[in-house]
């Protein structure tokens, strides 16, 4: 659930736009480079973007008695590194702002910053950290997607708190208030997103291990038997 159209003061809206723009431009270059350097992974890149398209269309009920939707940006961030998701996430947000009256054009910068920049980078950081600490691929992917999703909505809460500080308790109080609306609602959804991303990666390991090796998600193995072992692990 993104910040609705017109619900950030002009100065805030412009500042988030300025902050997000370089990431999106860098992301566009990253997409072009990925397609040019590794054309074999083009289709998978499209699928990663499409995954975000599906998940952000699904409004799912949560324990707070309200609905929100996952972001789907963790998968692409882990597979292709975060910059590409800056562009792909922006496309998703733009589509929803223009056609679905969800999110908004004036709040696009802020929403891009939370969903297409911070979310993917947190996901990628969590993934790398988990792997370095000896966690398996599955655990790394699950934690990455879940925490990336949660981070997106924590950023949204902070963005709204900065624009609308509480009269009595200030920005800190407003962060708590908006977090109780966005972040708490998001916890079960973040777990769902972690599980769905894990499912997709498990299917990818089984069906396209070669692409995963090219993206260095799976270690470069010398022969197929090792790969089939990896699938069952």
């Amino acid at each position: 659930m993104h910040i609705a159209e017109g619900y950030l003061p002009p100065l805030h809206a412009a500042a988030w736009g300025v902050a997000a723009a370089p990431f999106v431009i860098h992301g566009a270059r990253a997409v072009v480079r990925q397609v040019r350097d590794e054309p074999d992974t083009k289709l998978l890149l499209g699928a990663a973007g499409a995954f975000s398209f599906v998940l952000s269309a699904l409004k799912i009920p949560s324990v707070t008695g309200s609905c929100s939707h996952p972001t789907g940006t963790g998968l692409g961030a882990v597979l292709f590194r975060p910059p590409v998701m800056a562009l792909l996430g922006t496309i998703v947000l733009f589509f929803q702002a223009v056609l679905l009256a969800h999110g908004g054009l004036t709040t696009l910068g802020a929403n891009v910053f939370s969903m297409a920049i911070v979310g993917p980078w947190v996901a990628y950081g969590v993934y790398r950290l988990t792997r370095q600490l000896g966690g398996g691929l599955g655990l790394g992917v699950f934690l990455a997607a879940a925490l990336g999703d949660l981070a997106t909505y924590c950023v949204t809460s902070v963005q709204l708190a900065l624009a609308f500080p509480d009269a009595a308790s200030g920005i800190a109080g407003a962060i708590v208030k908006f977090s109780s609306i966005f972040a708490i609602t998001q916890i079960p959804l973040a777990i769902s997103e972690g599980l769905l991303t894990l499912l997709v990666v498990r299917l990818l390991v089984r069906i396209s291990p070669d692409e995963l090796r090219r993206l260095r998600i799976l270690p470069a193995a010398s022969a197929t038997p090792a790969a089939s072992k990896e699938v069952d692990a």
Binding site: E5, L58, T64, S66, V98, L100, S208
Partner: protein
Amino acid sequence: MKRSTLLNWLIVVAVLALAAIPVLFVEGEYGGADGIAQEAITESHPDYQPWFSYIYEPPSGEVASGLFALQAAIGAGVVCYYFGVARTKRRFAREAATAAAAAGGSANVSDRPQPVDARDS
């Protein structure tokens, strides 16, 4: 059923349960979190006026839900297309490998493991 396939189905069931449990056990209006945030803003800052409105708004909830379904359908279509292509490619590679092994014996083994025909179909 293979153990990993079973685990995949368990993941699907867990996701469905996570969505179903709140609806079954928690009372609520199940409005969008973004709408609730808007109410909170209006409550704490009654003088704030949204300074821009949507350039296009679906005329009704029904039309909006249709567009959301369309978005999900397009996304799911692309994801499933990928899996279909990847799976077929892998099957062809395996069949070619089996055929090569049957015809050429161990001499060709080195080029068997890499299905280099991973070009886009």
